[in-house]
Amino acid sequence: MSTDIQIAIVGSAGDGTIAAGDILRRAMAEMGYRVISFDLYPAEIRGFGKCIARLRVTDEQAYSLKPRSDVLVSLDDSHAIPHVSEAREWGAVIYESGSVTPLAEGAHISAHIDPGQIPYHVPIRELSEKSTGSARSRNIVVLGYIAGLFRLSIDGFLRALNSKFKGKADIAQKNEAALRAGYEEGARWFRLDDIDFGPPPAKGAGATVEMISGNAAVVRGALDAGIDNFFGYPITPATSIMERLASEMPKRGTRLVQTEDEIAAISATVGAGFAGARTATATSGPGLALMSEMLGLGIIAEVPCVVFVSQRGGPSTGLPTKTEQSDLNIAVYGGHGDAPRIVIAPTNVEGCYRCAGKAFEMAEAYQTPVILLLDLYLSNRYETVPFPAKPPFEADMNSYADTRGGNAAGFKRYALTADNVSPRTVPGQKGGMHIATGLEHNELGRPNDQPDNHAAMSRKRHEKLQLALKHPDFTHTKRFGDEGKVEVGVIAWGSTFGEALEAMILARAEGIRCAAMKVVMIAPFPTEAVAAFMADCGDVLIPEVNYQGQFAGILQAHIPRPVTRLARVPCEPMEVGDILAEIRRLAGRTTEQQAA
């Protein structure tokens, strides 16, 4: 990559840290760069707590943030000081040169800058006050400074600023003044760092590249797949899926209902699916727990529907604003009885779009609830995503029974077929029978508790899902890195795959033979592909953000082979450095060897 620059802005809630990060990523995307970004902020109200906006700007889409930033900006030294070491050697540390109040020794960030880092001490407050009459635009001054220092087009920043403050002319005007003041200051400075923004990549034909969050990509996927109905109840970090759909669906003549709770939401979703609609709900772990009974109905009645689940720290109310991957077990196994379902987990924002659309296809094709599993890190992170000119989703994948002239009484809604998928009818279809029962049933859909029937129906419900592993135009697993035998293979799922991939790339650069596999489809488990990959690996490492190593457990249930679990609950995304350290350890590299 000729451009690969990560910028971290650290401040206190109320400093405009997150807003600055937002404008910066919009500006970068506007210029044509690829962006991935993720913000950390406290749940507290304005004026308290640390906020960090991190974004990585590249010319090819990156899958994760880097372990170290190239530029670190402090909008509040007390919060930024613990993060100074995040700026790499010869990277830039940009900070306020002055102080309003006397400081004790060490309270200023300059005391903590490493000799290898390049200090940029900027009169941020003064520039803001001079250009706007107040210190409130310090965050925008900093953006202007970055643009000026790194010779980036100010126009991209101005457009991003104006779109952010659309309809607020006064604020936009002041911020433009602050941006220009910062820009002039930055352009004046003599650069000592080695940070270079190469030209943005040329715009490709056909696809449009947009910067979008994981949840927004899910919404886009659902809309492009032609969602008819959505029923939901708000819960962090899934709420924005419903909010976005709420503003989009009425425009398309489709319906969204906010129900009184999650049980009502899943009940309505299963009901609408039964009625033949493309339908979904969205929730997080606690909501999924409430939904599990009705999911069972969807499974036994073989009703297509989609459940978007964005995980957060748990159990119970847990850590609602922290990311975690600890709802995998409930997604795959949660519920009563033998209740197989499809669980897919995208690994990046583009994957959120594709998987959301594909979830509707699969739900219809295999007549089952499909869970799309995200987490807070993926839901809230932003990436630039190339969207194809035409949505890559099938509008209808139902296999309808031809009931013309048929005998409704003899219609076998749950016929045992060669591929275990029974042609379905929707209510109102002439000659069809419309049964949805929570009781075990026979092919006609009538209650039946005979052992042979239960065994046959259980097999049907399980076996049909295997078809999903061959679902058209869907990648259930993908290998990256070295081909053939490798010292260490990293297998990861969901949002952690990005960090795993980055760690694998760094390990290869250190001379370790290494490969990584992402597993997008977790149920049914792609045993064949994963086992083939593992056969090539000396050691297998599975990093995931939960305490138990839930994915490792599922994998070992299918492939009984020892793996190394890197299961952590840091309340943040997994660190690339931690995965890399474990790869080195497994590859038998000492610190001296890798330094050499």
């Binding site: 050697e89 010869w90 306020e96 040169s97 002055g98 102080s99 109040t101 006397p102 400081l103 004790a104 020794e105 060490g106 309270a107 200023h108 300059s110 005391a111 800058i113 490493d114 000799p115 290898g116 390049i118 200090p119 940029y120 001490h121 003599f190 000592l192």
Partner: protein
Amino acid sequence: MSSNVRHHIVIGSGVAGNQAAETLRERDPDSRITMITISRLPFFNRYDLPRVFRGERDWRRFIIYPADYYRRNRIALRRATRVVGVDSTAQTLTLEHKETIHFDSLLVASGAGAYLPEDMSEFRPLLHGFGAFRDAIEVADALPKKGHAILLGGDTIGLDLARTLLDTGHRVTLVAGPYTFWPHEVTPEERPKYVAALQKMGIVVVEAQERGGIAGVEKGAKGLAARRITFGNGSDLSGDVVMPFFGVAPSLDFMLGSGVDIERGLLVSPNLRTTNENIYAAGDVCQIWTDSEHRYCFYHGWKNVRAMGELAARNITGANEPWVPPQDETLRLSKDGKIQSPFWEYQ
């Protein structure tokens, strides 16, 4: 501070400051050492700056110690940080951003900045300095291939630069005056032979006095060289850059009001202590009491400055050794008529 660990602070990260920090670490391994400097760059030798004209523009190739040197030696290097005041009684210093730091011993090695005579100061925006890396890059950018540099004053720093500029195919004109050859003292009788040596090097020498002194520096007219100097007698001179070399003036604003004695530089006894027992000074910033001269003297040049840094650090850490003035600091001519300055003997 309640800690028993001594905190040595060194102001300045030039030759004197770095040598002092190294010696302090050797002699007081458990102490805290903080080095404060306005500079954003780690330490580099300023006499290396002319290398910029030979195409070396990456500052990393100039630095003397890698970043790891400071980490290993536990020298907290605070760059881009200006000291604005020292309270010798409270043993604290204040930084521009209002941070106060306590010291047990303070070594002032803040050096000296280029001196610009009062009557020249109004032309400052049109002059190119040469004290910092950035200055060197800016001059190199402003000077075209075979371009013409006009040096005013002509101290030894300027003359050293002139050698490189001539070597790299540029033209050099020296507007000579009382500062030519500074800090060497050249008698009126000797001066012509040194001026002739400069001319032999290829420098065009113009005596300012003969032209009625420098009257002004202005931007060159469109299509002509970027700068024009006018003289009192109405004559003029055009060049691409105009650079002042009038010697240096100690950087010690922040010491005013500190309670230690100052003349032109910080006054120190032969063991480099100021009038405060916890504050020492070394390098271009200080004037050392010299018995043989019966006065406080400056000793410039990197060799002297480095020796001062070492001596001050030794004395801070328990020694009580005096400064031994250098033997021979005079300007010489070699057998083949080339100017030789002890300040240029660093290769």
